[in-house]
Subunit: 390 residues, 2 copies
């Protein structure tokens, strides 16, 4: 009989050979990178004995014109380039190696996130706010990619929906947070870069957030779905999408609400709806919450763009002050604004707050360090969600 088992043993053996052969070929070896050290420093390693210069570029380094800074790594006698950061505050970070001038991913780190048209390796430094971004041993919600009909747009579209732990077996009706992405993003942005399902699971487990659905729609009305998930195939993504801030998405948003409220056990009422978004998604949230009167008791503007380009004409953007006054008169529980001190939209946000002050519209304001970054948006989500549906 023994020889019959040989192929299974061989199977295991060959696969090891495969990994070893590939590692020899590709220089992965037994290297660990990144290594999160106990003192919150992080060590990166990259095997490249013949490279002239290897740099690490990451979003914890000061950036210039949106390009993250970089540091030169040091080669040891085994041809492995090393770099250890100073102690990093708890966060989810992204990085790349630059090998003789060329960006490359870290072959020892399989965790990658796409941000529009670029892919970065990621890691998490715990011991602080990023503990909310990690998967913990707590009850987990479900994450579903689903398609819905959007009659206002004229085709089916993809949506990402988080349902909280217990949703499937409960008889309760749940409130809903509609969570919108920024320019270049899509229905994958909040779940991947935003760590929404981890943040929700952890906040709910800690009793800090009410169980709720989080609906992550796609704000690019020209798209069926995220790059790679539509009939366009595996094309190269771009920021330059048509009809993103011209009122069409806001008009079509009725389809999203209609779909969610017809297909999920949710509280289909103003007190059970929140809407929030980052950057362009903050812009969408601002205008959707104004335009659909009596629809949302909770609004979150994260580093929001505020006003459309002057060339845009849409009924959605008319009568800003009057509709804000109506929104105020109809009542709401929370109008939350978050902005980073160095955000390029800072002055725009400041002017908008002055406008709200002028009409006497109350809001909660968080001014954070930093700028227009996912670092801030994860924090804003973590701060905003506990305030909802109280």
């Amino acid at each position: 009989m023994k020889n019959r088992f040989l192929s299974v043993v061989l199977f295991l053996g060959l696969i090891n050979l495969n990994v070893n052969a590939q590692q020899a070929l590709w220089g992965g070896g037994q290297i660990t990178s990144p290594e999160i050290n106990t003192d919150q420093t992080v060590t990166f390693r990259y095997f490249a004995p013949d490279a002239k210069e290897v740099k690490i570029s990451g979003d914890w380094l000061p950036s210039k014109d949106w390009v993250p800074g970089s540091e030169i790594m040091n080669k040891n006698e085994n041809g492995v380039w090393n770099f250890t950061t100073s102690a990093l505050p708890s966060d989810l970070y992204s990085y790349s190696f630059i090998v003789d001038g060329l960006k490359t991913t870290d072959p020892n780190n399989v965790y990658l996130i796409r941000d529009v048209a670029m892919v970065f390796n990621v890691f998490i430094v715990g011991g602080g706010k990023a503990d909310l971004y990690a998967v913990k041993i707590v009850p987990h919600g479900s994450v579903t990619r689903r398609w819905y009909d959007s009659p206002s747009i004229g085709f089916n579209r993809r949506i990402t929906i988080y349902t909280p732990p217990g949703y499937e077996t409960s008889k309760e009706k749940y409130p809903v947070l509609y969570l919108l992405h920024g320019m270049g993003g899509d229905e994958e942005a909040w779940i991947a870069l935003g760590r929404t399902s981890q943040i929700m699971d952890n906040l709910i487990a800690q009793g800090k957030a009410k169980p709720m659905l989080v609906v992550m729609s796609n704000g690019n009305v020209s798209q069926e779905a995220a790059p790679g998930e539509s009939s366009l195939g595996l094309y190269k993504p771009t920021f330059e999408l048509p009809n993103t801030m011209d009122g069409k998405f806001e008009e079509s948003f009725r389809d999203v609400i209609q779909f969610v409220e017809s297909n999920y056990r949710v509280k289909a009422e103003k007190s059970g709806r929140a809407i929030a978004g980052l950057s362009m998604g903050g812009f969408h949230s601002l205008h959707i919450s104004r335009y659909y009167t009596k629809s949302f008791d909770y609004v979150g503007l994260f580093s929001a763009a505020i006003l459309p380009d002057t060339s845009v004409t849409s009924k959605i953007y008319e009568n800003l002050d009057a509709t804000l006054e109506t929104q105020m008169k109809n009542g709401y529980k929370l109008y939350w604004i978050g902005m980073g001190k160095t955000d390029f939209l800072y002055n725009d946000g400041k002017a908008y707050r002055a406008r709200l002050d002028k009409i006497g519209m109350k809001y909660t304001y968080l001014e954070s360090e930093g700028g227009h970054t996912w670092t801030n948006w994860r924090v804003y989500l973590s701060d905003f969600v506990p305030l909802l549906f109280r």
Copy 2:
């Protein structure tokens, strides 16, 4: 008012600057790679003016000891390395660049798939079988990542579930295909590498497959979830997981069935259940379908490992012939075996078929070209699914 809009314009401008600056830094430029040409050749491009040698390594090239072959690319006067393949048969392919001996991903292709501990770029050549692997304008099923309690294992585990178009709004009961991954895989393998949701959507839309649920469990009983999706954090994945082929997964499989049949509107009967898997998952399917008597009318063994190591003792693996005879006596509709001619498990499969022949157990056999590859497993899935629940 105009100056208030400036920040939005700036917003757009800065983002373009960002992309351009990053492209300048990283050499992405306006390069298209890969480009699928109309004659089914594929052109790759990589900007690296100072590199001494750039090769492309891809799974359409002959492999040796599991390492895919490579071809040297040619540098043009702009520092862009080029390579055009011969016409490729329709398929989903994976590739990497090797730049002066170092594996790197293609910075112009954001589509990446992890296979155990390595990450590859992917592309699809249509015009044939891979048309099933592409997202088409057809009704789409939903894909949910969910957690279930596994009392046999002692903790909650993650599972991927495809529900067919219309499932949520129908009152019908659906049949279920349980689809199991190979060694080193997890609950992400079939949905990512296997293109299961695309294959199912397309086969159902073409009327070639019955609408069914596809349940993709995690066959590594030591894991809560796929790498990066569990409380272990963002660790380096490995093939070497404990308790993968010692009976524990098969024993715990009752929890998966119990979960699905308690939580989904499915046909909880032998005629409504199919089980199939690749390699180790074929091994699991073979033994689960024997061990849980009267449970499955459809069984698929894709490049299956057959017998456990002789050092393994588990009641699951006892009395192979007798339990197969019982399975035969209880009746089944389809016992399907697929194997590649150059698969290292070929002889093992041949011996198993001889064993089935000896006891008179009927099966359907597909012998394909090629070996132990996802290329074959996607084909086997595409061929197997239309035969189910007829």
